[in-house]
Symmetry: C2
Subunit: 202 residues, 2 copies
DNA sequence: CAACTAAGATGATTTACATCATCTCATTGC
DNA sequence: GCAATGAGATGATGTAAATCATCTTAGTTG
C-alpha cells in the first residue's frame, strides 16, 4: 500500500529538497546519497542540524507536528528519495499499531538526537563542538576513525555552530597537537581519548 | 485501562520528580501545579528547557526513545502528577491507532518546541533570548501581558541560556527603555512590538 | 584562457558576555 | 535578636570567539 502511494525522486548534488516554512504532506525516506538538514537564519547564515543517510526518514517531526517544514533540506551528493503521501501513511498507522509504536520510537530518537546536537552547539565551547563534529562523522556517519569530510569548511562550521574561521583554527590546532591527522578533507582521529574528553567537558 | 494502571503522586515545591540518566518505565501526565524540565550540566549549572503545565505529558521523548531520562524534572510549586505504566500504555497504542497518531503529533510538537527553545538559547544574542523568555511566559504560560515570574532570577537565566547577572542587567535595560514594567517578580510587557522584534532578530 | 568566484588558511581587532567582586535586603534558624 | 544564607542588583575586569582583513589556491564560466 505504501509502495502504491510512493514515488522515488532523484536529486543532484546541491539540489534543494524542501525549504523551511513550506507546507508538507509527504513523508520521505532516503534511498541513497546524503542530505543535510538545516535551519536558515537571517542573512546567509545557516545551521546544519544533521545529515541523513540511506534508510532514514526525513521531515517526520515537521510532517507529524504541524505540517509546516521547520527545516530545509538539500542534497550534498546525488540522492534518491522516496516520497510517501501522508494520508495513506496515516491510515497505516491507524491500522497497524505496532508500526505506530515503532514510529514513536523513531521520532523520539530523532528528537533526542537534534536535542543533543543543539546542546553541543549552544552549551559547549569551541574545542568541544569541533570534537563533537569529528565524533559525529567517525561514529555515526562513516563508522571509522578515518574518513573524508563530505562538506566544506563553512558547512562543517555550521554543523559545529561556529564560523568557518574558528572551525579552521581549532581544527589546525587539533592537527598541531597530534590529536588528528589532517590533509585537506582527509581526516584521521589519532587520539580518541582526547577527542572524547573534549566532547564531554565542552 | 489506563486508570487501572496509573497512580497519582503529589510533589511539594522543589521536590525532584526524576533525574536525568535514570531508567524510566512510566509516562507522566501533569494534573496540577508547575514543573520545570532541565538538563544538568557539569558543576551546578543547569539548563531549563521548558515548564510543564496541567494537561501535558512529561518525559515522552525519553520514555519512547531509549527509556533513559534525558532530562531532570522538579516541581516549582506543589504538583500532582499521574504516573502510567509504560506497558499498558504501549498496548493501548497497539490497539488504538488513532491514539498512536495523536501521540505522534504530541511528541512531534514537543520535539519542535524544545528545538525552538534551544535555537533561541544557542543562536540568538542576549536581548533576543530575554525577549523569548518574556514571550514564553506571556504567550504560553500565563496568556497575559502581565504576570509574575514563578522562578528566581537564576532560574530565569537558565531558561534564557545565560547567567543570572546578564539576565538581570538586560531585564533592567528593558525596564529603563520602557519596554517592560518591572517590580520584583511582577512584569508587564509594555511594547509587544519591540519584544517581538528583539525575539525575531536575535 | 582570462576573469571571477568560492574555499581554505592566518593574523589583527573588536565585542558580547561571563566571571569576579561587592553591597543591600529579605528569610531562615539557633 | 542577630549571625547566616541566598536572592537581587551593579560595577569592574577578563576572555572566547566573532568579525574584519588579507592572501593563496582551486574551481567555474562567459
Amino acid at each position: 500500500m505504501l509502495i502504491e502511494n510512493s514515488s522515488i525522486v532523484r536529486f543532484s548534488k546541491k539540489d534543494i529538497i524542501f525549504r523551511q516554512d513550506t507546507r508538507t504532506s509527504h513523508i520521505m525516506i532516503m534511498i541513497s546519497g546524503m542530505v543535510k538538514i538545516y535551519k536558515e537564519g537571517t542573512g546567509h547564515r545557516q545551521i546544519i542540524l544533521r545529515l541523513v543517510l540511506p534508510g532514514s526518514y526525513i521531515g517526520m517531526l515537521s510532517v507529524l507536528g504541524d505540517q509546516i517544514h521547520q527545516f530545509s533540506a538539500s542534497a550534498i551528493e546525488a540522492s534518491d528519495i522516496c516520497f510517501i503521501d501522508l494520508n495513506p501513511f496515516r491510515n497505516i498507522i491507524m491500522e497497524n499499531g505496532k508500526y505506530g509504536l515503532k514510529l514513536l520510537n523513531v521520532i523520539s530518537q530523532e528528537g533526542l538526537f537534534i536535542f543533543k546536537r543543539l546542546m553541543s552547539q549552544s552549551h559547549k565551547q569551541l574545542p568541544g563542538r569541533i570534537a563533537d563534529v569529528l565524533l559525529y562523522f567517525s561514529r555515526e556517519v562513516y563508522n571509522s576513525t578515518k574518513f573524508t569530510f563530505p562538506l566544506t569548511r563553512r558547512e562543517l562550521a555550521e554543523l559545529a555552530g561556529t564560523t568557518k574561521e574558528s572551525f579552521i583554527r581549532t581544527l589546525t590546532e587539533f592537527k598541531n597537537d597530534r590529536i588528528i591527522k589532517l590533509d585537506g578533507s582527509e581526516v584521521e582521529i589519532v587520539s580518541h581519548d582526547i577527542i572524547n574528553t573534549l566532547s564531554e567537558f565542552g
